[in-house]
Amino acid sequence: MGTSRSSRHEKWIAGVHIYSGRPDPTWEVKRTAAQKMIRYWNSLKARAGVLPSRPGLGYRGCFLRGRGREWIIYHDAVMLKKAGGWEIRLDREQQFEKALLASAPARLLPPSLGVGH
């Protein structure tokens, strides 16, 4: 019981893999926003094929963590960490990535990411 209560109050943390020298930016995501993203994840279908290649320098994707779960998102690939691997789903419209980046506080992310704060 105690575990489930503490898990319910656990914070949802998002972040962007983008910088090399500075620490990557992270922020707290509201529980309602995180739940909306998870509902969206539940509606996505499995993604087959090759993952989009990520550059060495610059934007390399974003993540959402909470309640012992972690998603990594890069363009149309949304990956949920599982024991022994990843479950990968296709987000053609990249809504998960857009919603997650849009949840960042104003001016936290560089303008090149195109998040309109």
């Binding site: 893999h17 910088y19 090399s20 020298g21």
Partner: protein
């Protein structure tokens, strides 16, 4: 006689496998018959495994046919295996196996899979042209070998206990702190802006020696590093290695000797640096003199 053909394409999922017996297996073996030996001008396989299609792995499950090893890899008409680097009799075997009317249809991987695979096969052709096939074939020694520079040893950095906690500044200075070191932090002089003018003095406060006129030449003592800036976004460092080429570690990701276009880096000024558009300066790291945190 039977053959197992593995379409080496996935990373997380298991690769698709096709098994052939009897006359079907013999037909494929005939298509695989080696003809001429590949010349130095012919493309080889990338030195490192890449994401996506990487060729067809062919295994002979019974007694191997003469002239072919038990296991070989086929890519774009070329055969690779122990003692094998030849052109195959059929340079379009991938189409026979993976095309829209090919053997892959039997696997029921979805109607779009052959199309996706065809695109992947073409992408791998481009990778084979672009990626260096033998990183060890770097010219050695260069005219100006860097005898005091650190070795390129990514295996040491790219492990879970070090990789996430050491950034480009740690890697370039060859100084592990496990703190994601920041220029100037150890000296109480952290940069206040993300410009060359701000980050350069912060590094100087850590006792790196600003050497704008180094012009990509190794110093007599210590080793050369290079500072670049993503204006208003971030900074990044490269280090020149003992073989004269540069390597770097983008943030918490693995150390690499390739730039954003998967090319080796003879000079960071001309490398594909992504958003780090401003080249600031070369600096010298005197081993044991610097302090970073």
């Amino acid at each position: 006689m039977s053959l197992r053909i593995t379409i080496d394409v996935f990373s997380g999922r298991e690769n698709p496998v096709i098994e052939l017996k009897g006359s079907a297996a013999r037909e494929v073996l005939e298509r695989l018959r080696p003809t001429r030996r590949l010349s130095k001008q012919d493309r080889r396989l990338p030195a490192m495994a890449t994401l996506g299609y990487r060729g067809l792995v062919i295994e002979q499950l019974g007694k191997p046919a003469r002239g072919l090893p038990r296991v070989l890899r086929y890519a774009h008409g070329d055969l690779f295996g122990p003692g094998l680097a030849h052109r195959a009799a059929d340079v379009a075997l991938e189409d026979f196996v993976c095309g829209s009317t090919g053997l892959v249809r039997k696997l029921k991987l979805g109607p779009r899979f052959p199309e996706l695979l065809t695109k992947e096969i073409e992408r791998f052709r481009w990778i084979r042209e672009k990626y260096p096939s033998k990183p060890t074939a770097w010219p050695w020694p260069l005219r100006n070998p860097c005898r005091c520079a650190p070795l390129y040893e990514p295996d040491w950095w790219n492990v879970p206990q070090r990789q996430p906690y050491n950034n480009c500044y740690n890697y370039s200075t060859n100084y592990r702190t496990d703190t994601f070191a920041q220029p100037g932090r150890a000296a109480g002089a952290t940069y206040a802006a993300l410009t060359c003018a701000a980050v350069r003095p912060a590094a100087v406060a850590d006792c790196l020696i600003d050497s704008p006129s180094a012009y990509n030449k190794c110093p007599a003592k210590g080793h050369l590093v290079a500072l670049v800036v993503w204006p208003g976004g971030d900074y990044h460092w490269y280090r020149k290695g003992r073989n004269g080429y540069w390597s770097h570690k983008p943030g918490g990701t693995p150390a690499t000797n390739l730039d954003n276009s998967a090319a080796t880096i003879p000079d960071p000024r001309t490398a594909d640096r992504g958003p780090y558009t401003d080249f600031c300066t070369f600096m010298v790291v005197m081993h044991g003199h610097i302090k970073i945190k």
